[in-house]
C-alpha cells in the first residue's frame, strides 16, 4: 500500500517543531522505501486536504500534549485524534482533528485507508526524533501491525 508521511508543526515555535525535526531527519535518510512519500506539511492545516484524496495510508507526525504521562513517542489512531477535542470548528489554527473531521465531507478522490499520528510528547531529544522517524517509516510501510 502506498503511504504518505506528513510532518506538521511550526519550526519557529519551541514545542511545536517536533514534526518538522522528524521531517528533517527523514530527509537525511539515505533511502526512503519505495511507495512512501515524505511531506513537509508545516502549518498548511486545511490546505493539506488535497494530500488526503489518493487513498493509501497516511501517517501524520506532530507534537502532542496530554497523551503520555512523560516524554516519548506515542501512536494515536484515527478515532482518538478525532476524539481529542470538542472544538471541531475552523480557525486560523485549525488542527488535525478538524482536518480529519471535515475530510469525508469534501473529499473529491479516494479517502485514505488508514490514518494515524506519530506524536512526540515533551522535550524532543535527538534519540526521540530518531525513534519517531523509525516508527513513522515502520507504520507507513506496514501499518500498526508493523509495531507488533
Amino acid at each position: 500500500m502506498k503511504a504518505s508521511i506528513i510532518c506538521i508543526g511550526n519550526r519557529f515555535v519551541a514545542g511545536d517543531e517536533a514534526g518538522l525535526l522528524v521531517f528533517d531527519r527523514l530527509q537525511n535518510r539515505p533511502e526512503i522505501p519505495e511507495g512512501i512519500t515524505v511531506i513537509e506539511g508545516g502549518l498548511a492545516g486545511l490546505n493539506l486536504l488535497s494530500l488526503l484524496e489518493t487513498g493509501g495510508r497516511v501517517v501524520f507526525v506532530d507534537a502532542v500534549k496530554g497523551f503520555k504521562g512523560s516524554s516519548g513517542v506515542v501512536i494515536v489512531e484515527h478515532e482518538e485524534i478525532l476524539g481529542s477535542t470538542s472544538q471541531l470548528h475552523f480557525d486560523h489554527g485549525a488542527g488535525l482533528p478538524y482536518l480529519l473531521a471535515v475530510l469525508p465531507r469534501v473529499c473529491d478522490g479516494e479517502l485514505p485507508e488508514e490514518i494515524m499520528l506519530v506524536g512526540l510528547e515533551g522535550e524532543c531529544t535527538s534519540e526521540m526524533i530518531e525513534h519517531a522517524a523509525d516508527i513513522s517509516l515502520t507504520v507507513a510501510a506496514h501499518g500498526l501491525k508493523g509495531l507488533t
Binding site: G9, L43, A44, L46, I81, Q87, G95, R105, V106
Partner: protein, 516 residues
Amino acid sequence: MVKTAKGINIPLNRAEGDLEIRVEVNNGVVTESWSSGTMFRGFEAMMQGRGALDGLVITPRVCGICSLTHLTAAVEALDAITGIKPPDNARRLRNLALMVETIQSDIRQAVLMFMADFANQNRYHDHPLSEEACNRYSPLTGRAAIEVIRESKRLLQVVAIIGGQWPHTSFMVPGGVTSIPEISKILQCRIIIDRFRTWYERSILGCPIERWQQIESEEDLHGWLLEKESHRESEVGFFLRFARQANLDTFGRGPNRYLSFGNFPLPVETDVQGHDGRMNRAGYASATDVSSFDPEKVTEDLSHSWYEQGSAPAHPFSGRTKPYASGQSGELYSWIKAPRYNGEVVETGPLAEMIIDGNPLFIDMIKQNGPNILVRELARLVRPAHLLQPMSIWVNELLNKREESFYHSVTTIPDGEGAGLIQAARGALGHWLKVEDEKIVHYQIITPSAWNGSPRDASGARGAWEEALIGTPIRDIKNPVEAGHVVRSFDPCLVCAVHCLQKGSSQGILKMGLNR
C-alpha cells in the same frame, strides 16, 4: 444605575490562542478595550545574518494562511534591491497565486469564521433567520460551510500547479519565477478558475459578477436584494438580511481612516486595468477622502508594547525589535507593536481597498452610515468578484504569451535596502529588508493584524479594533457574540503558530471587566 461588569473571563471561540481582547462594559455597552498579542514571535531577529535570499524560504512559514503573501512581500523587497523588474509572465503568475490565496482566505473567513457566529444558538435563537443560519453555517454540517471548504480546496490547486510544490512553495525569486508551466497546466488553471467562478456566482453572489458590479449605492444594493430570489438566497443576500436584523450595521465603527499599500503589479502589456502600475491603488483615506500613499510615513510606536523603548516611533527601516517585558506593569500590554501612518491609527483590509480604489458602493455605504461590521465583512465577501475577472485575463495572456520570458537573470543581491509592500488578505503587509555582503542585516515585518490589532500609541490612541469595540452593545455578558463580531470583522490573524494536538485544547479569551 451604572452597572459595570467585573472580572469575568469568557472564551471567545475561534479567536487565536495568542489574542486577548479585554473590555470594560458599562450598562451593557463596551466603554473601554485593550487588545493584547500574547506571543513574541521575533522573526526579525531570526533573519539577521542569514543569506539574502533566506526570506524566501523562512517568511512563507511565518503564517499557514498567508504563506504566499509573505513570499510575495519577501520577493518584492529583493526585487527592489536588485532593481530588476520581473518579466510580464512572472508578474502574471505571481499575481495569480496571490489572488488564489486571497480568495480562499476571504470565503473561508466569511463563512467558516464570521458567519459561523450566526449559528450561535445561545445568541441568535430568537433571530428570524436562526434556523436557516444553522443549516448554512453550523461547523461540519452547514451546507455553505462544507461547500466553501470543498471549493476553496479545488481553487488552491492553481497554486500547486503554478508553484510546482504543495504546500510551502517558494517559486518566486528575484527577477521572476522558477519555472515555466506547460500549456496543459495553464489550461488546467483556466478550467479550475472558471469552475470556481461559476460556483462563486451561483452560491456566494447569486448573480453574475457583471451584475454585482453594477451596484453603486446602498439604494442599488437594496434593489438588488429585492430583485431576485437567487440574490436573497445567496450567501451575500443572506448575510445582508441576517446582519441587518442583528443590527450589525450599527456598531464596530473603528478609526474611519484607511490604508492600502496597493496590490498586484501590472505587467507592462496587459488588458487588466489599474492605477500607477498596480491593479489595486495604494493610498490613505480619511473617511472617503483619498490621498496618495507615502511609504516614509509608516512608523512603529513601541510605547505600549513589550519591547525596549526608543525615543520616538521609528520607520521600519530603522526600527528595532528587542523584547523587554519587565517593568511598567500595566502600561505595556502587547507583543504587537503599534504601526501608525503619519502618526495616525488606520484600518486596513478589504474595506480599505474598496474605499481607496474608489468603489462606488462602499464609498456610498461609508458616506451613508460610516464604517461598521456589516460593511467591513461585506467588503471581504465580495472582494473575489473583483479578482476573478483579472485572473481569467492573466491566464489567457499566459496562454498567448507563454513563449515570452518568465525570468530575468539575477546572479547576486547587491548591498542595499528594499521594501515589499503588498495587500495580504487581511490588509497592508510590509517587509523591509537591508542587505550587506549578501547577508541580511535588517528585516522588519508589519502584518495587517499589527495595523488593525495594535495596542495604544504614545498619544494614548487606541488601535483600530480597540477603537471599533467602543460602543458595542453586549446583550449577554456570558456570551459576548457582539464583541466577537467586531473583532472578527477585521479577520484577526496573530498566530498560525502552536497548533499541536492537545487533549481539550485551550481557547482564546475575551476578558471582560475592570482588571487588565
